[in-house]
């Protein structure tokens, strides 16, 4: 029972925040709602005994990525979006309808054919016994997924370099502007 209540509470929060993210006019407000979304998701993860992922979600997603978004929003100093009727035209309404229907269909399909029960060695109890969620995730990460782990670190390095190069201030000597934006 508590499980269901917890889930319901978090789910409601998530649904609300997601809608507000895309409906707000102000970018900062959207970002705040996104944070709300992320925290609720983290809570949901925690309720599913995925403590490591929950912590990472809060630390990285909410704590770094959204902060980065905030920085950029404030750097660009944009005003609120002009509400211009969401700029829809006939083909776009059609596409919108198609999209929503498509997703409903997919959702229905998912609801029809789902697996039930637990079919794997790492049940919640097994994880508890083995030393906790973080420990077992770490074990899997550093043995089975070592290669992707290392490559991910390389990826981060590349992203850092790329971000620095792309966002560098253009230098105005010799009329050589614009070059740096292309990296």
């Amino acid at each position: 029972m508590t499980q269901e209540l917890v889930f319901l509470a978090f789910a409601a929060l998530i649904a609300l925040c997601s809608m507000m993210v895309i409906l707000s006019r102000n970018a900062v407000v959207s970002a705040i709602y996104l944070v709300g979304d992320l925290f609720s998701l983290a809570g949901l993860y925690a309720s599913m005994d995925a403590h490591f992922v929950a912590a990472i979600q809060v630390l990285v997603y909410a704590g770094a990525i959204v902060v980065l978004f905030m920085f950029v929003i404030m750097l660009l100093n944009l005003g609120p979006d002009q509400r211009q009727h969401l700029q829809v035209s006939a083909p776009e309404v059609g596409v919108l309808a198609l999209t929503i229907i498509g997703f409903l269909v997919v959702g229905g399909m998912l609801l029809l054919g789902q697996p039930t029960g637990v079919t794997g060695p790492l049940t919640a109890e097994a994880i508890e016994n083995a030393g906790g969620n973080t420990y077992t995730v770490g074990m899997v990460l550093f043995t089975k997924y070592l290669w992707p782990f290392e490559l991910a670190s390389m990826l981060i390095l590349l992203a850092i370099i790329a971000a620095i190069v792309i966002a560098k201030k253009e230098q105005n000597k010799d009329g050589d502007t614009r070059r740096l934006a292309h990296g």
């Binding site: 776009e92 596409v95 198609l98 999209t99 498509g102 269909v105 997919v106 399909m109």
Partner: protein, 647 residues
């Protein structure tokens, strides 16, 4: 501990001079370079004395582990034995003298930090070569001295000729190095070790256990290594770099191309004497090449006008003697000649350098003459040097060169031809060296008035080392007096090197002539032939050149015009190499560059880029640029895909 300092000081000097103290005055660079060498010499001397005091047994000094790949081990080990100890003293001692001299020689240069840095680096590399306990450490030194030789020959690189000479030296050396590398590979393949001490043990004490395959391989290994020695020690056909190397400053010629680097080949062969003894065929090749080179270069030196070129060809010829000594199995005689040659050739080169400096860097002997009264000290020391090299009885060259010729003769019928070639070369040597002496120091002065005014003796930093070298050239010979002469301590040097030279028991019969007894009359006879030959050619040279080019010289030159032309053009060897090796290679390189690289490869690379842009251009006409449109299309596509999947 002192041992490491020997290596450390030259390296420190090279580092400080080359990288740190670049803006100091030339005097400071000079003092730093010379001090590094003198410190190294002192350490070497102390180490050597301690070593000999403890009995002079070979010891391996372990450095750090360097390469260990499977069974291949090449640690940084050093071997200190009688041979390497002697080389240490020669390198650091004569090196110090040359460093002192070089300060005076280079005093007109603006910035000499480069020069002394390279010189110190060279000494370091040479020490590595001599002290290494395995072929790979030796090879590091081998390559390092080649590099420093290149840097120093092309020291005045603004002039293209000097840079080209440096390149030539490096490239020809490299060709020899292929042989050396092959030797290393083969050694490892058949013996699974490249350490000298281990190889010695395998070949000598466990020689019965050597398989037939290994014995056969030794022939090839020694041949390959000898090719490397040819490159480094300027034997046929890889000697062409040495005369061109005279483009470098004279102290460089003295140190590198007379006393140390060129002796690396002989050192290497002596180090591996136990292997060479097991390969009589290779020994025959070695002896023949040595003898032919000795005579060949000596004939070229007969007609050269540049004082340094005469000395260069003389060096090639004397190296031929050393190689001949190794080839007949008389390694101690070869090494002894190396020792005496280092002394008197360095003396001769440095003396020539003094003359060149006095003549304001003119080197043509046709413009010299009569310098005896302007430069008395230089004349005296050069006189001693010339006497030493021609083998005048009593001075060092007499004892060392004649020992080699004696060993060649007593090697049996096999080596008689080499003796003849060597004897002829000795006759030529006396001729051209006395010719050099006469043309430079005697007769009337033939230079123009302006130069004549400025002729004077050099400073003490320059003639001081010369005097020391002259004393050495005169006295050092007494370390190896043959026993037929009345001298209390005969053949000291040969006995000194006995522990290093070891004939494997399986070939002891073949080489028995090295230890056999011979009638004294035979020895007197051979010695007499050499002395008489030397005397006759010296008298002829004095007659022909004591006052410039006499009528006899001119008439001989015109009657033997063809031969004279061939000799002046150095047998057209350089032209031959250029036509058959260098030019085709250059043409191939041009072709590869212009056609293969620029047209084909660049074409392919650029073509790929162009193709991409073309295709991109073709397909991009539908893109409207609107982000939203793109997003819509994408979502529609995904929905379609999912529907297909599910239905």
């Amino acid at each position: 501990m002192l041992f490491w300092l020997i290596l450390f000081f030259p390296l420190l000097g090279a580092f400080l001079n080359g990288l740190v103290l670049r803006k100091v005055s030339p005097t400071v660079s000079h003092i730093l370079g010379a001090a590094a060498l003198i410190a190294a010499f002192v350490c070497a001397l102390i180490t050597y004395l301690q070593f000999m005091g403890a009995g002079g047994e070979a010891q391996v000094i372990n450095g750090m582990d360097w390469i260990e790949a499977g069974t291949f081990k090449a640690p940084f080990n050093f071997i200190l034995d009688r041979l390497s100890g002697m080389m240490l003293l020669i390198i650091t001692g004569i090196g110090s003298l040359i460093h002192i001299y070089a300060g005076g020689y280079m005093h007109e240069e603006a910035a000499t930090y480069r020069f002394f840095s390279y010189l110190n680096l060279f000494v370091f590399m040479m020490l590595l070569l001599v002290l290494g306990d395995n072929l790979l450490v030796m090879f590091i030194g081998w390559e390092g001295v080649g590099l420093c030789s290149y840097l120093l020959i092309g020291y005045w690189y603004e002039d293209d000729k000097n840079a080209a000479a440096g390149m030539k030296a490096f490239l020809v050396n490299r060709i020899g190095d292929i042989g050396f590398l092959l030797g290393i590979f083969l050694t490892f393949k058949y013996f699974h070790t490249i350490s000298f001490s281990q190889l010695k043990e395998m070949v000598l004490t466990a020689s019965a256990n050597l398989s037939g395959e290994q014995l056969e391989a030794i022939g090839w290994i020694t041949l390959a290594l000898f090719v490397g020695a040819c490159g480094k020690s300027a034997q046929m056909p890889l000697y062409v770099w040495l005369p061109d190397a005279m483009a470098g400053p004279t102290p460089v010629s003295a140190l590198i191309h007379a006393a140390t680097m060129v002796t690396a080949g002989i050192y290497m062969m002596t180090r591996l004497n136990f292997m060479f003894y097991l390969a009589p065929d290779t020994q025959m090749v070695v002896a023949s090449v040595g003898a032919i080179t000795a005579l060949f270069a000596a004939t070229i030196a007969l007609v050269q006008y540049d004082i340094k070129k005469v000395l260069a060809y003389s060096t090639v010829s004397q190296l031929g003697y050393m190689v001949l000594g190794c080839g007949v199995g008389a390694y101690s005689a070869g090494v002894f000649h190396l020792f005496t040659h280092a002394c008197f050739k360095a003396l001769l080169f440095l003396g020539a350098g003094s003359v060149i400096v006095a003549m304001h860097h003119k080197q043509d002997m046709r413009e010299m003459g009569g310098l005896r009264k302007y430069m008395p000290i230089t004349h005296l020391v050069m006189f001693v040097g010339v006497l030493a090299i021609i083998g005048f009885p009593g001075l060092s060259g007499f004892f060392s060169k004649d020992e080699i010729l004696w060993r060649a003769w007593t090697g049996g019928d096999r080596y008689h031809i080499q003796w003849v070639l060597g004897a002829l070369a000795a006759v030529c040597t006396s001729f051209y060296m006395v010719r050099l002496l006469m043309l430079t120091f005697y007769g009337k002065n033939r230079s123009d008035h302006h130069t004549q005014e400025h002729l004077h003796e050099t400073s003490v930093t320059m003639w001081g080392p010369l005097v020391v070298l002259a004393v050495l050239s005169a006295g050092v010979g007494y370390l190896n007096v043959p026993h037929i002469l009345p001298f209390p301590a005969p053949l000291l040097f040969e006995h000194y090197l006995d522990p290093v030279i070891s004939i494997p028991p399986s070939v002891a019969d073949y080489w028995h002539h090295l230890h056999a007894e011979y009638p004294h009359s035979l020895e007197w006879g051979i010695m007499g032939v050499s002395v008489v030959g030397m005397a006759l050619s010296s008298i002829l040279a004095i007659g022909m050149y004591s006052d410039g080019f006499s009528k006899l010289a001119h008439s001989l030159g015109s009657t033997l015009k063809g031969a004279h032309r061939v000799l002046t053009h150095k047998y057209y060897v350089d032209e031959f190499y250029d036509a058959y090796f260098v030019s085709p290679l250059r043409d191939i390189a041009q072709f590869l560059w212009k056609i293969v690289d620029v047209v084909i490869i660049d074409g392919i690379v650029n073509g790929v880029g162009q193709a991409c842009m073309l295709i991109g251009g073709l397909s991009s006409f539908r893109m409207s640029g609107s982000l939203h449109r793109h997003g819509m299309v994408m979502i529609v596509g995904i929905v379609c895909m999912l529907s297909v999947l599910f239905f």
